[in-house]
């Protein structure tokens, strides 16, 4: 094929790719056409053609930049937010508080933070979901990279009487953990503890409700990379203290090998481990969402077999464990 015919084909392809919205591919074709034009100075109107191609490439670059610079999760209309809430709440029937919570979580997952925050705020008044709502408010603040606001919100909850001490303890642990993962150094305020004798009955009811949670909730914990969840967590006392765990890889690693690690800290059914950076095989396989069907849990009084799911994996950026990985695992069954 002669140079002129080659250029004609390339320009035709570029034009078509552009129509298809394949802007980088169109640009590539224009670049090739320009190179051929430059190498064949004898082509009639070559310089004019190059000028016209340059203009087209400039326009393409602008369009590519507009797409790349566009926010990935802009605020959408209220009507579309309602649709997101309905389609992705995961709870179709049943308890109103739980359904509203799941709806607000769906909004947050799709980046509709203003509306999600106002819904979580409203849910703070609902006894059955207020701890989960508070945690999700903190998650929203973290997603919005406003850690100071997360701390401010917590400080306000410490001051008012909306939360019981036991609830605040959970929220505090959650926030503290997130701040540490983000290397954000700050001391969280504490409330002077009081005895909560009259709350025993209420606690019992809340516990019953939690264990009956909707089917969607289980999937939420098992499957997500846990940016947002509706963890109506089990009470800490329902779990034994676990000193260390054994992990067998579901796939990829040496078959049957059990990797053992000490537990750094535990809250209820969530445990945290530090995995040294030298454990390359293990680190390659373990990601947020990885299911671990074969686990052993070593407590001072028993060894239990069970399963878990990795909920987050974070590289430690400073301190003596720099370069190692902090792994959160939710225990599913024992």
């Amino acid at each position: 094929m002669g140079a002129a015919a080659q250029i004609k084909t390339l320009l035709k392809e570029a034009d078509l790719y552009q129509q298809q919205g394949l802007l980088n591919e169109a640009k590539e074709r224009y670049k090739k056409a320009t190179e051929i034009l430059k190498a064949n100075a004898d082509i009639a109107n070559g310089q004019e053609l190059i000028k016209s191609i340059v203009k087209k490439v400039v326009a393409l670059n602008q369009a590519i930049n507009r797409i790349n610079d566009a926010t990935t999760k802009p605020e959408v209309s209220g009507q579309k937010q309602d649709l997101i809430k309905n389609l992705f709440s995961g709870v179709r029937e049943g308890d109103g508080g739980q359904r509203d919570l799941e709806g607000a979580i769906a909004l947050a997952k799709f980046g509709q933070f203003d509306r999600a925050l106002s819904e979580f705020d409203r849910l703070l008044a609902d006894n059955t979901v207020r701890v989960a709502a508070a945690k999700n408010i903190i998650r929203c603040c973290i997603e919005l990279e406003d850690l100071d606001q997360a701390v401010k919100r917590f400080a306000a909850w410490v001051k008012d009487d909306g939360f019981k001490d036991s609830e605040l303890k959970k929220i505090r642990f959650f926030l503290d953990n997130r701040l540490r993962n983000l290397d954000h150094d700050c001391t969280l305020p504490e409330r002077t503890p009081v005895l909560e004798v009259e709350d025993i009955e209420v606690d019992h009811q809340a516990s019953d409700k939690t264990s009956e949670g909707p089917a969607g909730f289980v999937d939420e914990v098992e499957a997500e990379s846990v940016d947002f969840d509706s963890e109506l967590e089990l009470h800490e006392e329902e779990f034994l203290d676990i000193n260390s765990v054994g992990i067998q890889l579901p796939a990829g690693g040496p078959k049957g090998q059990m990797f053992e690690f000490d537990v750094s800290f535990q809250t209820g059914n969530s445990i945290n481990l530090i995995i040294p950076s030298t454990e390359k095989t293990l680190l390659k396989e373990l990601k947020a969402g990885t299911k671990l069907p074969e686990m052993q849990f070593f407590s001072p009084i028993a060894i239990l077999n069970g399963s878990g799911v990795v909920t987050s994996k974070t590289r430690i950026k400073s301190g003596p464990k720099e370069g190692d990985y902090s792994l959160d695992i939710t225990i599913l069954t024992t």
């Binding site: 084909t9 035709k12 392809e13 078509l16 790719y17 298809q20 919205g21 394949l22 802007l23 591919e25 590539e28 369009a63 507009r66 797409i67 790349n68 566009a70 990935t72 999760k73 802009p74 959408v76 579309k80 649709l83 997101i84 389609l87 992705f88 995961g90 179709r92 997952k109 799709f110 999937d219 098992e222 499957a223 990379s225 940016d227 990601k287 947020a288 969402g289 990885t290 299911k291």
Partner: protein
């Protein structure tokens, strides 16, 4: 996961159109929306952005009527194809019952097809599902562009690249003019309902 209301004898399932950016997922849904009005049970909702790219998802509700004594409702979704929308893509895929993988037949999109299929595999795995087990139909779209003299991949090559191991039903298509659209969705619905029938035993 599909929902089955025993009392109302109603089943609702979710089909997701997956594939690289600009492969024609939305075009498939648009064609279904305008052609099968009888079965479409609501408005098609699209949230798109600069250059008509799908930003969050497209959504189209359908009602297939009574099948084996059950009222069957289907929700069709598309995911955003662009790489930067990976978290949204994963969200939309959650609890999926059947998948249509739309591959772009243009030769220049060969790698993007493969990356997108790999992405589908990873996302399904993260939800405890498997690309080998989920009802899946492949669609090789944009076959009409062959007439324009644009280099397309032969179907055999696409089968080899994408479907060698999966062995899913596949269809050549030109979604822009409806060619292959109905065959694709029909196959996917059949596979999905058969799969659900085994899982939920709803037809017994």
């Amino acid at each position: 996961m599909a929902t089955f209301n025993f009392k109302r004898r109603e089943i609702e399932c979710k089909i997701v159109y997956y594939g690289p950016g600009r492969c024609g997922k939305t075009t498939n849904l648009e064609y279904i929306f305008k052609t099968y009005k009888k079965q479409v049970s609501g408005e098609m909702v699209s949230i798109d952005t600069e250059g008509d790219r799908t930003l969050f998802f497209d959504f189209l509700p359908m009602g297939l009527g009574k099948i084996k004594g059950c009222d069957v409702k289907v929700q069709l979704y598309t995911v955003p194809g662009q790489v930067q929308y990976s978290s949204t893509r994963k969200l939309v895929l959650k609890e999926v019952d059947g998948v249509v993988f739309v591959a772009d037949s243009l030769e220049v999109r060969r790698e993007k097809n493969m990356l997108s299929l790999k992405d589908l595999h990873e996302n399904l795995k993260s939800y405890g599902s498997s690309i080998f087990k989920i009802p899946l139909v492949m669609q090789y779209n944009k076959r009409d562009l062959e007439e324009e003299g644009i280099p397309l991949m032969p179907i055999a090559q696409m089968e080899h690249d994408l479907n060698r191991q999966l062995k899913a039903p596949s269809h050549a298509a030109a979604a822009i003019n409806g060619q292959g659209v109905a065959k694709t969705i029909t196959d996917c619905l059949k596979l999905t309902l058969l799969h659900l029938q085994k899982e939920l035993k709803w037809a017994k």
